[in-house]
Amino acid sequence: MERRDFLKLIGITGAGAVTACDAKVGPQSLIPYVVPPDNITPGIPTWYASTCRECPAGCGTHVKTREGRVIKLEGNPESPVNRGKLCARGQAAHQNLYDPDRLKGPKRLVNGEYVDAQWEQATSALAAELRRLREAGGDPGSVVLLTGLQTGTRERLYDEWARAVGARRVVYEPFAYEPLLEANRRVFGESVLPSYDIEGAEFVISFGAEFLETWISPVRYAVEWSRMHAFRGDEAVEKGIFVAVEPRLSMTASNADEWVSVKPGTEYLIALAMANVLGAGGEAADWTPRRAAEATGVDAGTIERLAGLFRDKRSVALPGGISTSHSNATAAAVAVNLLNRAGGAIGDTVRFSTPVTGAVEGSYRAIVDLVAAMQTGAVKALLFADTNPVFSLPPALGFAEALRQVPFRVSFGPLFDETGAWCQWLLPDHTPLESWGDWIPQQGTVGIQQPAMRPVFNTRATPDVLLDVWRTAGDPAAAPATEGGWYEYLREAWSDRAPDERAWAEILRAGGVWEGAAVAPPAGQPTDGANLGRAGVGAAATGELGSGEPTDFAPPAYDGPSGEGTFDLVVFPQIALYDGRTANRPWLQELPDPASSVAWQTWVELHPEVADELGLVDGDVVTVESAHGSVQAPVIRYPGARRDTVALPLGRGHDRMGRYAAGRGVNPIALLPPTADSASGGFAWQGVRVGLTKTGTRVDPLRFQGSDSDEGRDLAEAVPMAAALRLASGEAEVHAEEPHLGEDIPLTVERVARDSDPDGPYRWGMAISLDACTGCNACVTACSAENNLPFVGPERVAKSRFMNWIRIERYLEAKPGGRIETHHLPMLCQHCGAAPCEPVCPVYATYHNPDGLNVQVYNRCVGTRYCSNNCPYKVRYFNWFQYEWPEPLNWGLNPDVLAREKGVMEKCTYCVQRINAAKIAIKDQGPDAVITEGMFQTACQQTCPTDAIVFGNLKDPESRVAKLAGGPLAYSALEHLNTRPANFYLKQVTDRSGVEAAAAEPVAAH
C-alpha cells in the first residue's frame, strides 16, 4: 500500500479508533475507557494517566485526547516525581508519536534495500534465527539483547526472555552516571542513587550536576529547587542559597546565586577542600583550601566561605553529571560524598531510604566488552531495543565497525536511526504513548504507562514480538508466565497490587502506585538503605570509607597536548535534546538553548575575548579538532564560557532518524576518545583538548537573542536578599529604590484590574517570578502544543521569524569581580490596559474584550503589522507563510484553537480557549457564577516546574495572582510607558550570601 493511502486510511479510522479495535491490539486496549466508548462526546477531551518516557526520570503524565487523538501532555499532579509538572521534552512527547518519519511498519533488508515486511514473517524469521543459534548450542553470549535503561515489568520481561532464548541482555544508557553508583558503593557500600532532598536544604552546592536540565530527574529537582530557593515576596522568610561549581555557565549554573568557575576536571578539589575545612580526615586531609586553590584557580577564601555556609546551614552537595565527568569522575563523586558526609547531610538531605532510578551500573564497560566480543565474532545476533549506540558512542570505540562481525542484527526502534541503518530487520516498537508498561522512578513509586490512542502506524509492541519469539524459539522448559500477549504479562505482573479490575482501574486512573502505598519493590530493586546515612556519618568521624579500596584523587587525564591554541573541550547535554533521542521533534529543535539561545544548530561556545583574539564573530564556522576527530560548527560568543575552554552541545549531528534531525548540526562525540573512568568504567565525557581553526566560511547564527545585555534598561529587575526581606517584612517602602526611567508611575493591581468591563467579574493577569524562572523553556513548548504554534524551520529562524508566543529572554549582567548575573525574563503578551497595539489597527482586528484580554481577531486581520511595530514588548508574531504540518503531525493540533492563515498576526491569548471552557463549565451554576482560583490554568503556568508563572483574576483580591502582584517585589516591564500591563513581574532576588554587599563595603567606605 502507498504511504499516502495508508495515512489516509489511518486518518479515516483514527477518529474511529476509540470504538474500533483490531485483533492485534485486542479488546483489552479499551480498558482505559472507564466509560463506554459510545459515551465519548466529541469536543470533550478524554484524559489518560500515563508515564513520560522521554528520559529515565519517569514523570507521571496526564495525556489529553480529543476524538481519539493525543493532543497534549500535562504532568500528573499525583505523581511524587514531577508533581504535575513537565519539561519541554515531556511537552513535546506527542511529536514523537506523530513523527512523520516513523517507520510505518516492519521492514527487512533485501540486497541493500529495505522492503516492507509482514509482522508474522518478521517474528518467525527472528524466532527461527534465535532457535537455530540456541540449538547450535552457541554460548549464551552469542545472542545479545541491547536495551536502554529499563525498570519494572518490561525489564523483567527482557531478562526472562533473554534467559529463555539463551540470549544475554546488555543495558546501555548514554547518561548512565556509573561514577555516582561506584562512589556511593565505595563510601556507603550501596551502589544506588540516593534521593537528594533539595527542597529541604538551605544551602545547595552542585559540582557540575545539571539538575535543572538533564541530571537524573530534572523536573523533580526543579520543583524542589524552586521551593527551596524562589523568593516571591509573599512571606518574609529567607530562602535558600544555591552555588554551582562548573567550568561553564550552564542553565543550571545561571540560576545559581554564585557560579564558581573552575578549571575543567578540578571541581572535586573544591569539594575535597570544603570537606577538609569541615574536618573530614582520610583522603580529604591533605587537600587544604590553599592547595585546592592553586589547582583550581578559585581563591581559598571562597572555598572557606562555602564550607562555612555548608556547615552552618542544612546543606546538600550534588555530584557531577555529564558536563563534568572526567576520567576521575568516581573520585570527584567520592569527594562530594565525603563533603556530604562531613557536613552531616547523609540520611538528612541525602537519603538512601528511597533510591531513585536513572543510573546504570557498568553500562559503558558492558559496551566495551560487547565491542570486544563482537570483534572476535562471538556475537551472532544483536537486537537493539530503545537505544541508539551507533549515535551515542564515540566512533573511536569502533562499535559500528564491530557490527560488521555480527551476522544477524535487528532494531526495534520506532525511527530509522543510525543504529537501525545497520540492521537487516526493522521491527518498529510502539511509541510510549501507544504502549502498555510501567516505570519505577524511585523506590516505592511505580508509574503506569497506558496507550492513549490506537497505534498511528503498523507498529507492534516489542514485548509482544519478544513473547511470540519466546514461545517458538525459547526453551520449552521456561515458557512465558502468560498465554496472552504483553498486556496479559503486565497485568499478571501487577496481579498482586491489582487483584481485581476495580483496583486495576483505580491504578490506571491514578497513573500508578505512589509512595506510601505498601508496595513490595519489584524484582531487581535495591533494598532499603534507610539507616545507611547514620552509618556514613559515623564513618566520617573516622575518615574510613564504606568499602575497602582507596580512591586516587589525582587530577584527570587530559587527552591531547596542552598549551598555546588548545582548549579544554566541554561537551554538555542540552535540555531540549537530552542525549539526542528527541532530535526529530521540530518543537525541540526550534527551542532556543537557555544559555546560548541557539536553535536548529550545533554551536561552538567561545568566550568573547578569546573569540576576539581569534578574530571570530557569531556564525564564523570553525573546525574543532582533537586527536580522534574533527567537527565544524559556527561560533557563538558566550561570556559564560571560560577562556580556556570551548563547549559543544550534545544531541545534534544525526545522519539518520528523520527530516528534522538528519544533517542538522554536528555530533561532538566524534571528538571524544573511548576513555573510561578507571574506577567505575563509566564513559569519560570530558578531558579532551582540542584545537580551533577558522574555516573562513560564515553561516547565519540561528540565535533568538538579539543582544546579550539589556543595555542597562533594567527590563529584568533584581534586588539583594537583604533589601527583599526588608520589603517583604514591610520595614522598607516598596517604591523606595531608585525610580524607573522617565516618570515613575506606580502601577497598582487595583488600577490594572480596572482595565476591563467595570460590571464584569474578571481581569485576567499574571504574576511571573523572575526568581523562580530557570529559563528551562518548558512553558514555550507547552504553549506550542496548546495553541498550535507552528515550527518555522532554520531558514526562518535565521530571519528571527520564530512563532513562540512566550519566549525566555536571557540577559547577562556583568557584576563587580567578573561575576555574571543571569536574568531569565519570560516575555509574552502583556494584555495591556492601554495597549499600544489596539488603536493603530485600521480594522479593529485587535481590541480589548470585557475580561480585559487583548484579543486578536484572526479573521479580521489584514496584516498591516502596525500592531507589532507599536508593541513595545515585541510579542506579536506574523504568519509570513502558510505554515504546514506534515501528516500526521497535524493530528496533534488542538481542535479548540484555530490554525492561523498566512498573512495574519497572532500572539498569546492567555489560553482564551481554557477561559471559555471554564465559563461553559460554570454556566449551569446560574448567571452570577464566577470562575474561581484553580478552575483552570494556562498551558505555560500548568507546566512550569518552578511555578514561576501564576495566572488568575486580578479583580479577585483573594486570588494568588492579585496577592503576588500587589506584593513588594512586583513591577511592570517598561512601566514608564504606562501601557498598564496585566503581567506583573516579581523581581529576582540576588546576593543571598551577601558576597556583593561584603565586596561593596570598602567602596562604600571611600
Binding site: 482595565d755 490596559g833 492601554a834 495597549a835 489596539e838 488603536p839 489597527c841 480589548h848
Partner: protein
Amino acid sequence: MSAELMERGVRGAFYTIEEAGEAVLALEKEGFAQEDITLFSPIPTAEYEEHFERPRSPVRYMTITGGILGCITGFVLTFWTFFAWPLHVGGKPVASFPVAVVIMFELTVLLGGLFSLAAVFIFSRIPALTMKPGYHPRFSEDLFGVFVHASEEQGKRSARDVLNRFGALEVSDEAE
C-alpha cells in the same frame, strides 16, 4: 431668445484682449444685451471680469455647500460608527473628537473640490455637444473674438461699425 435669432450675428476678430474688451463695452453702449455678446479668448480673462461688470460667478456657493456637506458627513460617519458597535481600544474612550477632525477635514476638502468641479461644468455649460456660433479655431490660438447676435440688418450694421471702429482684423457675418 428664440432659435432663429441665435443663428444670425456678426463676428469680429482682434489681436489683443484690450481691443476686444473695448469693443464689447462699446457694443453694450450701442444697446446690445450682455447675453447677445460673446467674447472668445485664448487666455484667461480674469482681469476683465470686473471690467465687464458681469455678475460674480456663483461657483463659490457650490464650493461652500460641498465643504459643509463633507464636514458634516465626516462627523456623522465617525461618531455613528463609534457608537454603532462600541469597541474599546488602547484604554481610550469609545468616541473621541480629535480623531473625527481628521476625517472631517479630508471630506470637507474632497466634497468641496468635487462640487467646484461640478460648478464649472454646470455654469460653463460643459460638456457641450454643440459649439456656440461665432467660434473660430484661432480663438484658441492667437486671436480674440467678439460675436454679436443680431437678426435684423440694422443691428448688424451698427455691430459691424463698432467692431471695425475698434480695429477688428476682419468682420464677418455669421450665418451658418
